[in-house]
Symmetry: C2
């Protein structure tokens, strides 16, 4: 891991910065919209988005003067993992949600994050404050040799994708993902439909072909979660409970309802 | 067109031959199977398959000693059109179907092709003989400035993909294609289900996530077409009726029933 991080800083970063600069930046929302039409949900399935990213980056890389060995290492690294785009997706979702932060009185959820023990959310109208509850277990499929007893509870910052209406919220776009996280293609469609009941609106930039190109549910409303009892669904990797082992499976989990209740109470108190 | 063909012969061909040789060939069936899980049907939608092809070819291209200018031209050409993989898909389908040719007594359709006026099929059990009927019109969406009066009837050899159980037969994999060929996502699913009634079997190598990973319909049985009256459905580009204009839209059409009746009569006569 340390060797890889050092290489990213020394070679990958500068080479990518040069290539992205040469093409004047990458427009990520259209790329993600296209990936949703290609079976990705941009959280646990990024195969199409990774390919679309490569398609833009490789000609830009070739147009520069990076020496050939470095070029081959960078392209092999980017092409070598179908989840390469997840790094970009998370950053894009975080940027979109930060734009919604700090609106007085707003019950829109701007962050959901978990550390394997606790789950925390932040609302637009309650600033930097976290509202926490114990993280839920993940129901899913395990890599060979591992099972539920080895698993940590829900963990990581990638639920920023669901917060932005992607991931499990856009799962109707990605029926093939059920081979990775469990469940059926019908479940995938049902998750996308159900999430629409707890969002403030829908995102016309991101559409779901299997639902007749309906826009994705977007802008989780903590009040709607409390009113309906419907909690946000999350596609996620399953981490081993011991540090250093890494991912041992993938599955589906939910945000705990108690976070939302606490957040709504805090918001009401601020407004009282 | 002539300049492009000359460049393909002089530069693209040799560079690709070198790269494909270096990685010991490309396994196309797994690539196409993956593309079906990424919203392609490998006839009129090849966005994912083109990306998957690039992901294998670019590292192979970089590993050779092709000079940088040629490399940039080849990669830009391959990455510059979402239909790049169609050329590969058609050749792969033709190879698969040629393997089924020449089986005595077999009513399996091994070729469907059209020239804008006539539609022709060949059966496994009737050798090189063509059974023809007038080509049908294509119902679809037109590029701006064009309409049905400008269109040729069904044209081209790309229906080899439907003959192999891809294209419109696998349309349940590609709901987003209806934005290009018309109809709804529900129609796409219905086409894949209906084609299963006229095939000898199904192809476990190619599965449809939206239908619970059901295998694609494969091996059109001319007798089943005649018995049921269900004709093969085809996704296709719409060509202008005047030579040289090129593609003016895309849509859905069918193989004319008369071809199949004639073929079954000929087969029965041979066996009598």
């Amino acid at each position: 891991v340390l060797d890889r991080l050092a290489w990213m800083a020394a070679e990958l970063g500068p080479v990518l910065t040069d290539a992205v600069g040469r093409i004047g930046g990458l427009r990520l929302k259209p790329l993600m919209a296209q990936a949703l039409h290609m079976g990705d949900e941009c959280h646990n399935r990024n195969a199409a988005a990774t390919g679309l990213l490569l398609k833009q980056l490789v000609p830009a890389l070739l147009a520069g003067d990076t020496e050939r060995g470095a070029l081959a290492r960078v392209v092999s690294f980017l092409a070598g993992n179908d989840h390469t785009f997840l790094n970009v997706s998370m950053a894009a979702c975080k940027s979109m949600l930060d734009a919604a932060a700090g609106v007085a009185g707003s019950s829109m959820v701007t962050t959901m994050a978990r550390n394997g023990v606790r789950f925390g959310i932040r609302l637009s109208g309650t600033g930097e404050r976290w509202f926490e509850a114990p993280a839920n277990r993940v129901e899913g499929l395990y890599f060979p040799g591992y099972g539920p007893d080895d698993a940590a509870a829900d963990l990581g910052d990638s639920a920023i994708t669901e917060t932005a209406g992607l991931g499990a919220f856009a799962m109707a776009a990605a029926p093939a993902i059920v081979q990775f996280v469990g469940g059926s293609a019908a479940d995938a469609v049902a998750h996308s439909r159900r999430m629409r009941t707890i969002t403030l609106g829908a995102n016309d930039a991101f559409t779901l072909p299997a639902l007749g190109f309906a826009p994705t549910a977007a802008g989780i409303d903590a009040r709607a979660v409390v009113d309906t009892g419907v909690v946000p669904v999350i596609n996620t990797g399953i981490a081993h409970r011991d540090a250093g082992v890494g991912q041992i499976g993938a599955g589906i989990t939910t945000a705990p309802a108690a976070c939302f209740t606490a957040a709504v109470v805090a918001l009401a108190t601020m407004l009282a």
